[in-house]
Structure formats: C-alpha cells, structure tokens
Amino acid sequence: MTTVEHAAGASGASGRVGLDRQSITGLVFGLLGIALLAGVAPAISGSGRRFNFEPPPDPAGIGFHPPTWVIAIGVLFLLTAVLGFAPPEARRWASPARLLSALAVIPLLLVLSLALSDNPSTNIVNLFNESLVLATPLALGATTGLWCERSGIINIGIEGTMLAGAGIGYMTYATIGDAQSTGWLWFSILISVLAGGLVAALLAVLSIRFGVNQIVGGVVINLFALGLTGFLRSEVIVKTGITTGVGTSEFGLPLLSEIPVIGDQLFRGKPIYWMMYLVVIGTWLVMFRTPWGLRVRSCGENPHAAETLGVNVVRIRYQSVILGGLIAGLAGAWFSMESQTRFEDNMTNAAGFIALAALIFGKWTPWGAFGGALLFGFSRALGTRLQFLGVEVSGFEIPSEFLQALPFVVTLVVVAGAVGRSIPPAAAGQPFQRSK
C-alpha cells in the first residue's frame, strides 16, 4: 500500500531521510535564533524585571535583564542549527543540543511574557505549581489510556469515563452527604473511581467480548456519559438543591512543606493531586517492573505470541482496561470534588482528549505521558497568567485560546512525525481471537 510505503520512508529509517528531518529541525531553530537576536532582543524593554519565588509582600526572587536572556537563548538556537549541519564527528552533540533548545522554549516564553507585560514581576514557583495541579486530570487520563492501549485496546472514551466519574461521584456526595461531610466525601470519591471502572468495563465487554470496533466503542461511551450525567444532573442533583459544597482540602507534606520560600507553595496540595503522583509512579513500577506488567505489554504488542506463552490475553485485557477506568474515575472526582465542588454538564471539557494527546506526545510511556500532561498543564496555566499580566504583542493581547489549542498543534506535529515519531503499541485496535 502506497501510504504505508510513504510512511515508512518518511519515518527516517534510512540515513538519508533521517538527515533531512534533522536539517529541517536545524533550519527552524536557526530561523528562530536569528529572529530572537535580530528582531526580538532589540525590541523588548530591558529594565527591572523580576521572577519572584513567593507571594508578596517583600518576595524573594531574582531580577533579570530580558534582552540578555533572549540573546542567550537565541545563541543556543543558532548553535543547535549549526550542529545540525556539522561534520559527522561533531554530530553527536546535535541531539542533546536539540533537546536543550526545546526545553529552553519554556524559559523563553516566561521571559518574553514578563518583558511584554506592564507588570515588572511574577511568581514563577506558583506558576509551576499551577501547571502541576492543572496537569492532574491530564496525567491521570493519560495513564488510563496507557493501561488500555498497552494491553491492545484503543480508548478514546477517556473523556466520557472521566465525566461519568465526576457526575456519579458528585451525585453521591450531594444526595448522601449533602456535599458537606468529609466522611461521605471520601466515600463519594470511591464511588467516582468505581463508576469509572464500570464504564471502562462496558468498553472492555464491547471490544473484547463482542469484537466491536474500539473507536466506535469509545464514541458510545462519550455519548452515553454525556447523556447519563446530564440526566442525573437534572433528575437528581438539581432536585437536591445542592449546587456546591465542601471539597477536598489542602495539606502539606511533612518536612518538605517546611522548606523555606518554596516548601509551602510546592508541597501543599489536595489529596487527588498527590494521588496522581502515586498513580503515575505505581503505573511505571507495575507496568515495567513486574511480570504482570510485562504480560500486559505483550498483549498490546503481539497477543498471539503472548497466548502461545500461556498468557490469558482476554483476562489481561479486561484487567488493564478496568484498571484504566478506575484511574479515569479518580480524574473525574478531581473535577467535581477537588478542583470545584459542583457538577456541570460536560464539565471535563475535552480534558480526556488532551490526555490522549499527552499519551501520544509521551510515546505511550508513563513518564513521557506525565511529561506531556505537565507541558499541557503549563500551557493552560500560562494562558491564564498571560491574561492576568496583560501581555500585549504589538498592541494586541495574546488570546488564551491560542495556548489552549497548543496541545493539539504539538500532538499533530508529533503524530505527523515532524519531531520524533510516536508509535503506538503494535496490536492496539486489533481484536483478539483466542486460538482453539
């Protein structure tokens, strides 16, 4: 098939095509570097900008001179560009340089946004913390996708699973606990988690037992969850008259939150946020360090080989998909009982799709997916911060929609293979038929 041949040719397996892609990346960085040195650095104002590390009054922080930083990053970009075309013996520095340049985009954005705003300073520790908090549902959702897809089931129903968890959890909290009692709050979060598991079980039964196309199965879940939670909201939640209540409360990690300046900002947080780290670390441990995790991954790569070795592919797939659903249920609880204490129709607002994007961005690995979630959380947090700071580029404000759309642009670029191709598990989407 010609598309396959095209794809294979473009993926850079042969040296020549791979070189082309490096050259393109080098060119892009080169142009960016020239633009920064010649265009941006002279244009921005240079005095008295500060990154604070704590809230006012009298915050600790560092002052900096924006043009100097822009010039430094511009030089780094140019260096990366030059290394892309360097003779083969210097080529080994090209890859680390590209990585460093890619990472430098984040400080560049921060420096530029402060240089272009009317405010001379902003708290970056707090911005970092906001990024992490906003990454919570994305990281949990991406982990859901990881469990499903690594076992061979494509899950585009993460959005619906989260929404069902959010709706059913809050409904429980509002009807039993009047949205006030801490004991019932935890019970309701548990119900959210179980609801997520139940919805995922539906996807598992459809795709494993009935061999339904997995993408259609995911769409069924998204539509069903929207209808069901809308129904529950208008028939149950609205009739209780409880529109909002007491959500989970912050606590500081012992010792770490005692660290001066940053401790109180970075190591205080709400429980589902902390659980997100446990889930990501746990997923990595179980999936890559236990025999069961190896079996899950083998079901996603080559189920028939796994079966030959005595792995019960059907059971492993059920287990992984339902485990993923439980995690998505927790992400749902974050929406309706941690971030806010209420339920609105469609309150997950495409977070499930951003989580899917983070998973693809992270090349189907736990830490990659977490990194993607963090990047997308950062773009959301920065969007809010830019509005707050009133950043203007030649007289017009940067719309928050641009930064909200960023995850999707980045993922499109990655999927199209422009920067480091992302490859799904080989058997994802393939129905498994047990040998007789």
């Binding site: 598309t3 993926s11 397996a13 585009i156 061999g211 929207l226 069901l228 994007a357 999707f408």
Partner: protein, 386 residues
C-alpha cells in the same frame, strides 16, 4: 520501517474492521439489526424513565407527539434532521473508503465559520439570491473540504492515522472559532453589537428560502442535502471514482496493484467527507441561524457516526436514519414539558442505538436473528472472544 507500518496498521485494522462489517456482513440482513437496535434502546430508556417514577408510555407518547404530532411538529423534526444528513454522509463516505473520519465535528465548524464569514461580506447584499445562496453554500462546503482534506494529506504524506489527527483537528478548530467569535480586541468575526458571542448576521440575500415557519424553521437546505445523498449514491454505484473508493476501502493493497492511485483516493475521500459536513453547516447557517456560534454543532459530528452505522453507510438510508435522529431531538422538549422527563433521556437512547448497532451480536443473540455462516463478521465477534 516496521514502526511506521505498525502505526498505520494498528488503528487501521480497527477502522478496516468496521468497514468490513458494514459493507459485507450486513448486506444480507439490512433491516433487522437496525430496527431491533432502536427497539432495544427505547426499552432501556423506558426502564430509566420508570426509575424516576414516570410512566414510560406517557413519556414516549409525548415524545412521539413532539416528533410527528402535527404539521408544525413534523416540519420542525424535518428541519432538525437536515444537518444530520450531512454529518452522517461525511462518516459514511469515509467508511466506504476504509477511513474513519471522526473529525466531522471539526469540519462542521470549519464549514460553518467559512459560510458565516462569506455570508456576512458587505458586497453579498448587492448580489441576487440566486448567486448569493450558492456562494454561501459553496463557501461552507469548501471550508469543510479543506479541513477534511488535511487529515487525508497527513495520512498519505506522513502516515499519521486519520483517527488521531482528526481528534486533534476537532479541538484545534474549536479553539480557533471560539477565539474568532469571542475576541473583541482585535475584532475578528464577532458581532460587536450582540451581547452573546456570535458572528455578524449574514446578508438577507444569502438566506435559504423558508418552507415552513416551524421551530426550527424548515428551509430549502433540505432539498440540497437530500439531493446530495442521491448524488453520492450514484457516484458510489455508477462512477469510476465511486468504484475506486469502494475498492480502496475493501483492500488498499489490491487496489494499488490494480493501478488505483490509493493516496489520491484517500485525500479525495477525506475532502469529500469534509465537504458534506461543510455543506450541512452552511445550510444551517444560511437557513436556520443566520449567524455562527461555536456551540451550534456540538456532538453533531459524533452523532453522524451513529447515523451512518444505523444506515449501514447507505447514502439513501441515511436520510431515514437522520430523520429519526433529528425528530427525536425535536420531540424531546414536549416530553420534558408534559411528562417531566429530562431531554437527556433522548441522548441516552441515542447512545444505546449506536451501542446496539455496533454490537450487533447482542441484538442477534437477544432476537435470535440468524447469522449467515460465511459472514466475515462472525470471525471477529462473539465466536472470537470468551
């Protein structure tokens, strides 16, 4: 080499399976599964209605009267169904080519915003309706076709699977149009005199003629979309291009060896798919709304999947399936008013229809519909697992 092939093949197999199911397995028993799926979904909905303490027959009677209870209701149902014909056609055409166009949602937005932009251009009011109306419809169609063509190009040039790229493009265009419609500084497309975010009203000359003053208004866009269904049926059945689309959908490798330009067919099918969605959006903008709002087409692209599957990708059957879909949504408010049942019940029933149509093994089992021995679907369904 293997990596990219896997990337393509992984989800490709899933989409290919839908296609096989659609074109081969169900041809022989065209109606049973769909009818039983609808029946079963209403039973599930009825159980839900009983749980909240309402007699399901009362609720369904109100729903039915809301759908077809009188001239106005019928006209309203028809009007509500018109855009679904386009979104379902977008899915069905791509299915025929073995592609899963999950991006109709975004193509509707792209088509709608283009149509609204062209319709509100100042010189449009100088044109006679006979020029202005085709112009706004073509603009929307082009907008949808371009947005639908992108994933086709990405697929052929880079191997990016259309399911993933269309999901990303859906969200991308949503944020794009939200910005265009919301932004006040600078004003992009926002109608600055309106309190709600929407585009400027289109020129009077670009409004599709009204047929019945129902709620929503039944307009002549109906003829455009019904007509296009027959055109597509003809193209698929009687033209070389239609034959190529069907062949590529059945087996791209064989098509390649038979001398068909597979890449061209993929890009053209995706663009055509997007064009149908864009036409649906343009007809809504021109005939019903008169301006563009980002929320107008919410879920319409995903509903298209259900309708296309319900109609088994048959372009003419889509008209009937879309009618059912639109009229249920149109009848739901009366059910809410008279029986005090949330209109979300209809959405649940619709999700169930998609579920039962897709998982036809459940329906076959419950209703003892005989399955043919040679059915290729059998290999991948009940017999396969557990």
């Amino acid at each position: 080499m293997n990596g990219a092939r896997n990337a393509n093949a992984g989800i490709g197999r899933a989409a290919g399976q839908v296609h096989r199911v659609l074109t081969e397995a169900w041809r022989l028993q065209p109606l049973y599964v769909s009818l039983y799926a609808i029946l079963l979904s209403f039973v599930v909905g009825g159980v839900l209605i009983s749980i909240i303490g309402v007699n399901p027959f009362t609720a369904y009677w109100a729903l039915l009267r809301g759908m077809v209870g009188g001239g106005d209701e019928i006209a309203g149902s028809l009007a509500r169904s018109v855009p679904f014909i386009g979104s379902a056609l977008a899915l069905a055409f791509a299915f025929r080519a073995g592609l899963f166009n999950i991006g109709a949602e975004g193509q509707l937005l792209a088509g709608g915003v283009t149509a609204a932009y062209v319709g509100a251009l100042s010189w449009m009011s100088d044109l006679p309706g006979i020029v202005a109306i085709p112009l706004i419809l073509i603009a929307g169609t082009m907008g949808g076709a371009i947005w639908g063509g992108i994933p086709g190009v990405l697929r052929t040039k880079t191997g990016a699977h259309e399911v993933i790229s269309t999901i990303m493009l859906n969200s991308l265009v949503l944020f794009g149009v939200r910005w265009m419609v919301n932004s006040r500084d600078p004003v992009v497309l926002r109608d600055t005199e309106s309190t709600v975010p929407r585009t400027d009203p289109i020129s009077d000359t670009a409004v599709l003629p009204e047929l019945v003053d129902s709620q929503p208004v039944l307009h002549t866009g109906l003829f455009a979309l019904v007509g296009i269904c027959f055109v597509v049926a003809f193209v698929l059945k009687r033209t070389t291009f239609g034959f190529e689309v069907g062949t590529v959908g059945l087996n791209p490798h064989a098509s390649h060896y038979a001398g068909i330009n597979v890449n061209r067919v993929i890009v053209a099918s995706m663009a055509a798919s997007g064009a149908f969605a864009g036409l649906a959006a343009a007809s809504e903008i021109s005939g019903t709304n008169g301006f563009f709002q980002p929320g107008t087409f919410f879920l319409m692209g995903f509903d298209g999947i259900a309708i296309a599957l319900l109609a088994r990708t048959n372009p003419v059957a889509i008209i009937a399936a879309a009618l059912l879909w639109g009229s249920m949504l149109s009848g739901a408010p009366l059910m809410q008013q008279e029986a005090d049942v949330s209109i979300d019940v209809v959405r649940i029933i619709q999700a169930m229809v998609l579920l039962f149509v897709a998982a036809d093994a459940i329906v076959r089992y419950l209703f003892r519909v005989r399955e043919l021995d040679q059915s290729p679907f059998k290999a991948t369904s009940v017999e396969g697992a557990v």
